[in-house]
Amino acid sequence: MSLFNLFGRPSFNHGIHPPSNKTVTGKTPIRRLPFPGMLVIPLNQHIGKPAIPIVRKGDEVVRGQPVAKADGFVSVPIHAPATGRIKGIELMPTALGKNAPSILLEVYEGATQEVLWGEEQTIGDMSDEALRQAIQDSGMVGLGGAAFPSHVKLTIPEDKSVDTLVVNGCECEPYLSCDHRMMLEHPRALMRGIRYAMRATGTQQAVIGIEDNKMDAVETLRANLPRDGSISVEAVETKYPQGSEKMLIKSLLGREVPAGGIPSEIGVVVNNVGTLAALGQLLPKGEGLIERVITVAGPGVKQPGNYLVPLGTPIGFVLDQVGYEGSQTEFILGGPMMGPAVSALDTPVTKGTSGLLVLNEPDIESETLRIWPCIRCARCVDACPMHLNPSHLGQLAAKRKYETMAEEFHLNDCFECGSCSYVCPSNIPLVQYFRIAKAINREQAA
């Protein structure tokens, strides 16, 4: 561990301190938004193979009923977020900018919208195998952003063993506070979820890591810890990207995930608090994942807060409900550091959407500034949590030396956190360069 850890909260080296902008949303309880007239449900809301639709145009579905089934192990089913009629399966815009096949669901206006699917199940009676199957059936994916199918992560291969479950409650992105509210409002569901995950992975201990700007969440969870001491809560330094799993593991356990590797190689599994809380709520009832909490915030939003929305709600609908303003505006799905900007207001909220930001002119002005040559100020080097040399990578990228970047300067270890671009006084779009470089390298290799 670094020397600094002796003096402050546990943390990793480098990283940045952007203003957090969470004070408003972090204090307002989660509220439910009304149902929109139409839901857009992409078949590919997770990493892995898209789900296979099991409904047809004109079918009636009830809330909670599966509408698509998993296509193999690395895939999850999708459940209807509302009672209504299938309008069709069409190509619709998604957060990634590309159009993708999505189920269009017309919501019945007068319906009670009760969940009418699923049977209660007793987790304690299940075999480990059955538990993991139940997790897959719930359609659960990582709600922290990556949307990786949870049952895959929780299935530890025979030849590996995992000793610690790290529960990621950092929420290091500015503006976002949905995890924070989940921890405050559903601590018991979270504890349940943690125990399920521990069982599924066979770990004996779990650590919840929370940034120290959310001490109220730390207190709440500590009050709800089980007696046996298998779960603990640890406050870590508030620093972006503390929530990145590699950084959090380093902060909490002092272990480094090998370059190009995954946490299970060093005996760790990481899950987001939102994911486990949702698991804790859904599994006993045998229900599927049909809604999630998103943070709607940003200077352009009139009523910022955390809202529980059915999956598939177009962001335009959300914005109409909370009200927004501004002429020149940028919409971002997720946080300002890593979330993609979207161009179409009918883009839906999906399982991986953790927030919706509306940034107005004054906030984005700085980005329209001139790009200067790299003045080698070393800020990016001191910011990069992966200890890369973004300055040199950027200069190589400008000269199109993409192969050198990958072969000699570890381009592929960059996880595009954006810390380097954030601090660069020359406004060099480093992350964008690196994305392009990776893409071109991938093309060359193919």
């Binding site: 040559p373 200069q395 190589l396 400008a398 000269k399």
Partner: protein, 194 residues
């Protein structure tokens, strides 16, 4: 500091009277082979190596020349003997240490006809250095050459990533860099002078 002490001879040849930057010797490889560090370094090492060989040769031949009183043949003798010695070393190297040969070998023939080598041999004769002094002088001159060519190569690699104006691309910028390096090395002038 005693200017015949070994440490003075060494440091003086490395810094204050650097062969390349102060005495203008060995400029062709300095300008020609300094584009990339991974060729500049072996070139530097090979040069130092040949310097040591020729220093020893020159010391030996000079004794013979002086003994026979045919010093007017010095130039011809030096160049011929150094060239053959390098060839010999090269062949021996090829036979007994192919790895080393591959690293340095391609540079050896280039170096034989390089004025830093002959210059070293002549200077050590003019300065009337004894055997050990000559050897240290060669070591210093070689180290100075490596230092200069490495600095140059590093700078030129860095410049590859910058946006040089169209007119400065090519030899001109190398010369200017050489000039700036030479200006910087003037800081060592007078080292040990008092």
């Amino acid at each position: 500091m005693n200017y015949e002490s070994l440490s003075f001879i060494f440091l003086n040849a490395v810094l204050a009277n650097n062969f390349v930057l102060a005495l203008f010797l060995g400029l062709c490889p300095f300008l020609g082979v300094s584009g990339k560090l991974n060729t500049a370094v072996p070139m530097g090492l090979a040069t130092m190596f040949v310097m040591l060989v020729s220093s020893v040769c020159a010391y030996g031949i000079n004794i013979v020349l002086v003994g026979l009183d045919i010093e007017f043949l010095r130039l011809i003798a030096y160049i011929v003997v150094i060239a053959s010695a390098v060839q010999l070393v090269e062949m021996t190297l090829k036979k007994f240490s192919p790895g080393l040969f591959r690293a340095l070998g391609i540079f050896l023939p280039l170096i034989t006809t390089n004025c830093a080598i002959l210059g070293l041999a002549l200077f050590q004769t003019f300065k009337e250095y004894d055997f050990l002094q000559s050897l240290v002088y060669a070591l210093g001159a070689g180290t100075g050459f490596i230092l200069a060519i490495m600095l140059m190569a590093g700078l030129r690699e860095k410049l590859e990533l910058s946006n040089l104006p169209s007119v400065t691309q090519g030899a001109a910028v190398s010369l200017m860099l050489g000039g700036l390096l030479s200006l910087s090395f003037m800081g060592f002038a007078g080292l040990g002078g008092q």
